[in-house]
Amino acid sequence: MTDSAADVARWARAFQAEIAEHRDRLTELDAAIGDADHGTNMDRGMRAVVAKLDATPAGDDIGALLKTVGMTLVSTVGGASGPLYGTVFLRMATATAGRSELDGDGWAAALDAGVEGVQARGKAVLGDKTMVDALVPAAAAFRHAVESGATAGEAWHAAAVAARAGVKATVPMVARKGRASYLGERSAGHQDPGATSSYLLVHCGAEQLGGQAHSGAVRT
């Protein structure tokens, strides 16, 4: 079962809906250890993405579509998360350029590229209390599942489970990157907002991708 550009667009729209729903929660998480704008930033960006998708003729090229998403995020989000999420999508775009279908292997490569990109850009490693703590385990779980013979759908599920665990793991961490790092020890005890939104992204993948619209995906 493979995903088409239309499936990928559905994923982006689902992510927008999820962000809009959790906007205030994300901002509250950011208020505790940052500057209380992560929900606003992501919401502004994903609304722009959907508006852009609405205005752009639907094409077959998954890479082109992901590039639109990435470029739009870069140019509308600002803050730390704009370039970081933008990079995730732009790197996935490069990895999928010209492709009209993606299977498990294709997604694994795209996710790896996206995660590598975010780390190259933001220099965060596992344990720094950032979105990396959700994205790295998610991509790893995805690849592991695919290499163990799972379907793309199953791999997305595995990735969402791993991302969720990654988010929870950020709670006790002391931030070493981003605005939360100014708090030092005081950042411990709070869940990272960027990791939380990243989990939502993977969660939407588990609901929308893997060759079919799944139901009963892992809940937050």
């Binding site: 901002t27 208020a31 500057d35 209380a36 704008d37 606003t40 930033n41 502004r44 870069v74 140019s75 509308t76 989000v77 600002g78 803050g79 730390a80 998360s81 704009g82 370039p83 970081l84 933008g86 850009r121 933001g122 002391v174 070493r176 990157k177 981003g178 605005r179 790092s181 100014y182 708090l183 030092g184 005081r186």
Partner: protein, 333 residues
């Protein structure tokens, strides 16, 4: 929340429109994407200076665009870094063929967005150097943090680099001035009250009626310590002490002393702070060669102040005295 604003989402646009109407002779303002550009940009053959960051710190940066200072500023939403395409557009608008210096405050968002913009600009054949300003001694600089925040030294760097660029110096030298300022400037701030971001509509942090926050960031980031409010002279010691010790500034040094208001503090109080700062430094044999007193890098309506010291040499003093004609800083012309 009591503010002279209309809808929170219109604050930045309307402020920029006001700036454009008030200073048409000095700056041009673009609303899509947001940027403030010198009225006569690009200045051919001159190194161009671009800075930017979240809004809410006025007059920084838009108010520092003009002859002898910035060629362009990129304002983000309130307390949110601008995006790469704003920065790219500004970079292209002001490039006069001699390259562009990006003056970036050390916040993850600012750095990432300026980095992406610089990459894009370089792809388009524009020479770009970026210097990151990180002068806030309230933050421990270590491998385990995002490093020191960029605060008051940014204003000084923009003025001094602007003067160097106006003299026709090449990009590398102008960037060197910026690095030098960053190396020899230190700052620390304090808040008597919290700022209120228009979208949140309530104070970013809660301070008791008898409390102050020492080491506050310009976005209301937590400081080093929360204490009972104290006399101005004691506050000066709490801020200037760590600043002086960090570089360190020593007896015999000449400095530029900058007392900055955070937006809600009136000038009468800043002069009281400046008086004590001058005495504090004199007591340590440190001479004030130049000074700046006023609200130049603010945090919305936060009450409080910050102190920045820059070690001066003749060259910096000369660059400081050079003419500057911007909405927010002006002399010599």
């Amino acid at each position: 929340m009591k503010k002279l604003i209309n809808a929170p989402e219109d604050v930045v646009r309307e402020e920029l429109e006001g700036l454009a109407l008030a200073h048409a002779g000095m700056v041009r303002v673009s609303l899509d994407p947001y940027m403030v550009v010198r009225a006569d940009a690009p200045v051919l053959g001159k190194v161009a200076l671009v800075s930017g960051g979240g809004s809410g710190h006025e007059p920084m940066h838009g108010g520092f665009v003009g002859a002898g200072m910035l060629d362009a500023a990129c304002p983000g939403e309130v307390f949110t870094s601008p995006t790469p395409d704003q920065i790219l557009a500004a970079t292209k608008a002001v490039d006069g063929g001699a390259g562009v210096l990006h003056i970036v405050k050390n916040y993850t968002g600012d750095i990432l967005n300026f980095e992406m913009a610089a990459e894009l600009a370089r792809e388009e054949g524009i020479e770009v150097e970026a210097v990151v300003v990180a002068d806030d001694v309230a933050v421990r600089d270590s491998l385990y943090t995002a490093g020191r925040r960029g605060v008051g030294a940014t204003v000084l760097a923009e003025k001094l680099c602007g003067a160097a660029a106006a003299e026709g110096r090449p990009l590398k030298e102008v960037a060197d001035v910026c690095r030098h300022v960053n190396d020899f400037a230190r700052s620390m701030g304090m808040a008597l009250t919290s700022c209120v971001t228009p979208s949140a509509g309530r104070p970013t942090f809660d301070l008791g009626e008898d409390e102050m926050e020492i080491g506050i960031g310009i976005h209301g980031e937590p400081g080093r310590e929360r204490m009972k409010v104290a006399p101005a002279d004691d506050i000066v010691a709490l801020l200037a002490g760590p600043v002086v010790e960090d570089l360190p500034f020593r007896a015999g040094d000449s400095v530029l002393a900058f007392v900055n208001g955070l937006g809600g503090t009136p000038l009468i109080e800043l002069y009281i702070v400046y008086r004590e700062l001058h005495r504090f430094l004199a007591g340590r044999g440190i001479l004030v060669g130049r000074n700046l007193v006023g609200s130049y890098i603010t945090s919305l309506e936060m009450a409080g102040c910050s102190i920045t010291l820059l070690k001066l040499d003749d060259e910096l003093a000369r660059l400081w005295d050079a003419p500057v004609v911007t909405p927010g800083l002006r002399w010599g012309a």
